[in-house]
Point group: D2
Amino acid sequence: MQLGLIGLGKMGFNMRERLRKAGHEVVGYDRNPDVTDVASLADLVGALEAPRTVWIMVPSGDPTRQTVQQLGELLSEGDLVIDGGNSRFTDDSANAAHLDTKGIGYLDCGVSGGVWGLDVGYGLMVGGDKKHVEHAMPIFDALRPEGPREEGFAHAGPVGAGHFSKMVHNGIEYGLMQAYAEGFELLEASELVTDVPATIKAWQRGTVVRSWLLDLLVRALDSDPELDDLRGYVEDSGEGRWTVEEAINHSVPAPVISAALFARFASRQDDSPAMRAVAALRNQFGGHAVQKA
Amino acid sequence: MQLGLIGLGKMGFNMRERLRKAGHEVVGYDRNPDVTDVASLADLVGALEAPRTVWIMVPSGDPTRQTVQQLGELLSEGDLVIDGGNSRFTDDSANAAHLDTKGIGYLDCGVSGGVWGLDVGYGLMVGGDKKHVEHAMPIFDALRPEGPREEGFAHAGPVGAGHFSKMVHNGIEYGLMQAYAEGFELLEASELVTDVPATIKAWQRGTVVRSWLLDLLVRALDSDPELDDLRGYVEDSGEGRWTVEEAINHSVPAPVISAALFARFASRQDDSPAMRAVAALRNQFGGHAVQKA
Amino acid sequence: MQLGLIGLGKMGFNMRERLRKAGHEVVGYDRNPDVTDVASLADLVGALEAPRTVWIMVPSGDPTRQTVQQLGELLSEGDLVIDGGNSRFTDDSANAAHLDTKGIGYLDCGVSGGVWGLDVGYGLMVGGDKKHVEHAMPIFDALRPEGPREEGFAHAGPVGAGHFSKMVHNGIEYGLMQAYAEGFELLEASELVTDVPATIKAWQRGTVVRSWLLDLLVRALDSDPELDDLRGYVEDSGEGRWTVEEAINHSVPAPVISAALFARFASRQDDSPAMRAVAALRNQFGGHAVQKA
Amino acid sequence: MQLGLIGLGKMGFNMRERLRKAGHEVVGYDRNPDVTDVASLADLVGALEAPRTVWIMVPSGDPTRQTVQQLGELLSEGDLVIDGGNSRFTDDSANAAHLDTKGIGYLDCGVSGGVWGLDVGYGLMVGGDKKHVEHAMPIFDALRPEGPREEGFAHAGPVGAGHFSKMVHNGIEYGLMQAYAEGFELLEASELVTDVPATIKAWQRGTVVRSWLLDLLVRALDSDPELDDLRGYVEDSGEGRWTVEEAINHSVPAPVISAALFARFASRQDDSPAMRAVAALRNQFGGHAVQKA
């Protein structure tokens, strides 16, 4: 089928390619003239036959919200907008309501898989009305991995459920990564385990901890056996924070996901104000030596 | 080759079967007369030709230590003992030293895979001398999964390194399980995600969180969609505790693995003394209502 | 000086008494006819001479916001409103802006001390303009404890800073309480320490952990030496959640405060969905026994 | 009464002074000739009349164990040894048993208070036989703070209970310090609270979080308002580790105390291996930028 695709960055660019390989007609728009198919959003809309389906794949927050606003002006009754970016689920109901006033449908779709999705396919979690989901199913089927549909695609619930699911997925991802990371550090610290990369590589088959993330860790260790080409500095892009906030909103204990999030915060501090306070206290009561700044 | 196998429980029983399928001659001993091949340890040793290789697969702690003691009396110079159970790595050097006084070799082997290992094969992490590892390699090759040897088998280091690696593997496992579990609870708590099992099932392909543990969670949800046939009561069998203790010994921060361990401890408490203290304090300073026992 | 005081619950009732003892003229209003001095908010405003100072001490959220709205209609230019309740600091700028349109001043004041404040005095953290703070200083001086003003009163910053400081104060409080509680549980669990209440009582003088909360724990243990008259079930009233959310907003690691918050969440669960997931996983891979619901 | 005191460092030196002020006769021994009263342990023993009481105040571990061994040779039946250092409680039963073979008594005494103890007195937690406790009570009474004995002294249980109690005390101390520290960092991070030292100073009276540690934090902020004269680098001296290990041994959840311990470990890392692993993983799956070492 025909699809308008807005945003041709690391994710959108690959998705256009995967969709085209599957035989779909994709009109892509990006501000970058090197990758765009059309000159403007208006041109993109003009290039599609009604009823149109337009997929947004731009950064979450203002860029996505503004794109929805613009599409509300350019699209027509019966068209469908899909936000496939990493928007916070709380944006979805406002987006859907805005478009609904013009009779335009809305789906939110969490997309997982990163740069590997081009070849492997993307895991998809969708929120919205059943009729819209069915309408866009050829697109979802082309994007998702080979195999049974239900193992790479879910209609998770109404508008918002797709991004909520993706948020939780990413929260889990934080916890998984930190678990492997702590294990890696402990193996590295041990004088007993003399071949850490080989030990982790051997976890790829048969073990309880085998996973795709483990495969990626093995891949990283293949090229940098002690991971000392890079710094222990880790950014976060929001979903981990939102997951902990939703855990709090729902009174759900989330000790592991929050610990993983806080470890990232701490990794970015040159010096910790909190630990200065602890050092100051030890010095005050015990005369313990402190390190001067 | 010929192998003596001591302990034919959930793990050992399946291992004997897998080894026999691979063409090895296994003499198994277990106290349970329904499954044993021989009547005693002495009979097992008597049934093997020198140099003998004997694999111990009994519960860790005293049962394993006592079995090593007995084998020290029954075996001869040039024989080899492999402890494949979940022993604490700190037992290995004593076991090895004891056997070494009689010229008997020793390997420690962490075995991962649970009840699935019979068909899939077991992930193996081994500690000890290279010559012993090479001698037992036909056994390791039969037990490990199909595929490249290094993806299911590692010689991690000297005596102790196998169990140390397995301990860390299990510590990671605790963190992974808790991460999925927190995500599951948050999905369940959300009013947005109306089909939790379908959402988790859709993570099996293409996503960053895909893993064997996720596949098992999907399997559990297939038969019990809200997991309400069982209680949130979780045992632990030692490796998680040892991992945190080793993290402490090596000054390695382990916030995620320890949080997962403590969540298990808490799951087994009908009532928490600590939280009684917090409730008592709130009542003391704020006159906040408490629930009576 | 003259003060209108809205809300005569556990906190407000005592504050009226403390203020009157200090010689101030307090007109109190509460919906409860047994404690109120006047029949309505309008009557309260009518009973005060301009420029009026009115202190709000009602539950945070809607009750406080509605009271501010009503006071906006009843008060006049030059009057001053102080919100002394446990409002989230994010409410303060809206409240202040609303009142400012009518020339009415606004202060937010965090009040700590619970039921003990009547006799001991209340710790006060205030946000707002200096001129308003100075105007209300006689009230603050009467409410705060004896001793140097700066040890029981702070002008923390502009509007919102009072409630922000109180929020952080309460977040710290969560962590302190949980630290004592974990220590209490470990002492109780030990077979070595045969007199736990006496041991904790002995921490009141000379030790590093001496504190008012410790004194309260001793007090609780005096009447219930094993704290087994109550259940380990702990409510929370918002400030702990907000503290963790603000920590996330500011990328501040808060492992201790969040752990204390999550321990409260967990204390209120009869059965943990997360731990059901962990139990299900253990059963899936290892055939480990589970407890049926 | 007469006391031999071994170890005249930061703690022992002050204790000798406090004891002498209280009228006791103290013979002190230290390897440092500038502070010692006698030239050797043998001289110290020779200077005391039987039955002798000797207090050990040297570093825990080997120094203390060796001192006990030497005293076992020098002392006589009916004498009493008190270990007042920060020994792990697991050392006490061995020490007591060794001395008991010669009829020498043993007490373990946890001592809290740091450099302030000289003036304020020390909080004391003692383990051992009642008769020995009673014999040494004049010493305990001189060391503990003014006020009711039971508020600064406890006979916690049999041998080992004193050091166990002190270990838990210090574990709690870790949690308390980290709670204040997280609050301090969040106040510092907020743009709302413009006077952080004043805000924390105002918590000293009337609030729920008032404590001696808070007083010390105020003291530190008085001389260094943003604590930027020192680095956020924090040592630990063992008791926090032991507390977490004992929590694990007793299946007691200790999320707060362990989080505080791990924060110290992390504070001492220039670069975290674990966070390098997380960074590597993010780069692998998402092409996310990493910081090069």
